[in-house]
Symmetry: C2
Subunit: 119 residues, 2 copies
DNA sequence: ATGCGTTATTCCCGGTCAAACATAACGACA
DNA sequence: TGTCGTTATGTTTGACCGGGAATAACGCAT
């Protein structure tokens, strides 16, 4: 296969991994990063802003995750001291940790296959 | 993590895998299937038709692969007995075989991770 | 010569999806 | 009571991508 590629160093295996339910996607790399930002910033709007994503889209992603999961991953509140906010539930934090680990194993897989490609 | 999901049987890990160059995607599952159909049918237009894909798109994919690879994966001819046709080069057949194998290993990975999810 | 089926290429159009915009509700605080 | 920042949600706009139509070239066959 190596004969096929012009520059072995620049051609590599890549991919995307996600967890899906019967209807929609449940958790992927984009949603993971959103959850991480919410965890860090305590707000959907700040997370969206940091990711250069529209608030509406961020909210829709959160809604999709919360409605699909048995237990909501993100807890939100309107009004209050800082106008409201959002934080990860225990299930949310667990999902983040587990998907991070899954993502690491996937990266290892991809790198191994890239190495094999240049074998 | 299992606590998060409503119905363990329906939630699973899934993903996409591809080989990419410095600019564009080079080879993925869609392109693989296109190559397989060309291999089988001897024509880009018939392959496109069989895949319910427009000829234009099929041709663009073939062009993308051929221009990125050192050696073309698909050889075409205009005119002739049957009006022309297309067939895989040795490099093309090799790429198909190798990516099929890669895809199998990826499927095994995905299934293993799905099993782990329901652990 | 003419026809045929394919490759090769350009142009236009419509569907789709996210961005942008708009607005309401909420609750603490001054 | 009014302000503020956030959640929550509907509506419109716009860009992008693929589909489809149109056209030319090609070369064998009749």
């Amino acid at each position: 296969m190596k004969d096929v590629f012009p520059d072995p160093a620049t051609f590599r295996v890549n991919g995307r991994l996600w967890i899906e339910g019967p209807a929609d996607r449940f958790l992927g790399i984009g949603r993971l990063e959103l959850l991480q930002h919410i965890q860090l910033l305590g707000s959907i709007s700040k997370a969206a802003q940091a990711m250069n994503m529209s608030y509406k889209r961020a909210w829709e992603l959160v809604s999709s995750m919360n409605t699909q999961a048995r237990v909501p991953l993100v807890s939100t509140q309107t009004g209050g001291q800082r106008g409201g906010g959002a934080h990860l539930t225990d299930a949310g934090a667990q999902a983040v940790a587990d998907f991070e680990a899954l993502q690491l194993r996937f990266q290892a897989f991809v790198e191994a296959e890239t190495a094999r490609l240049h074998g």
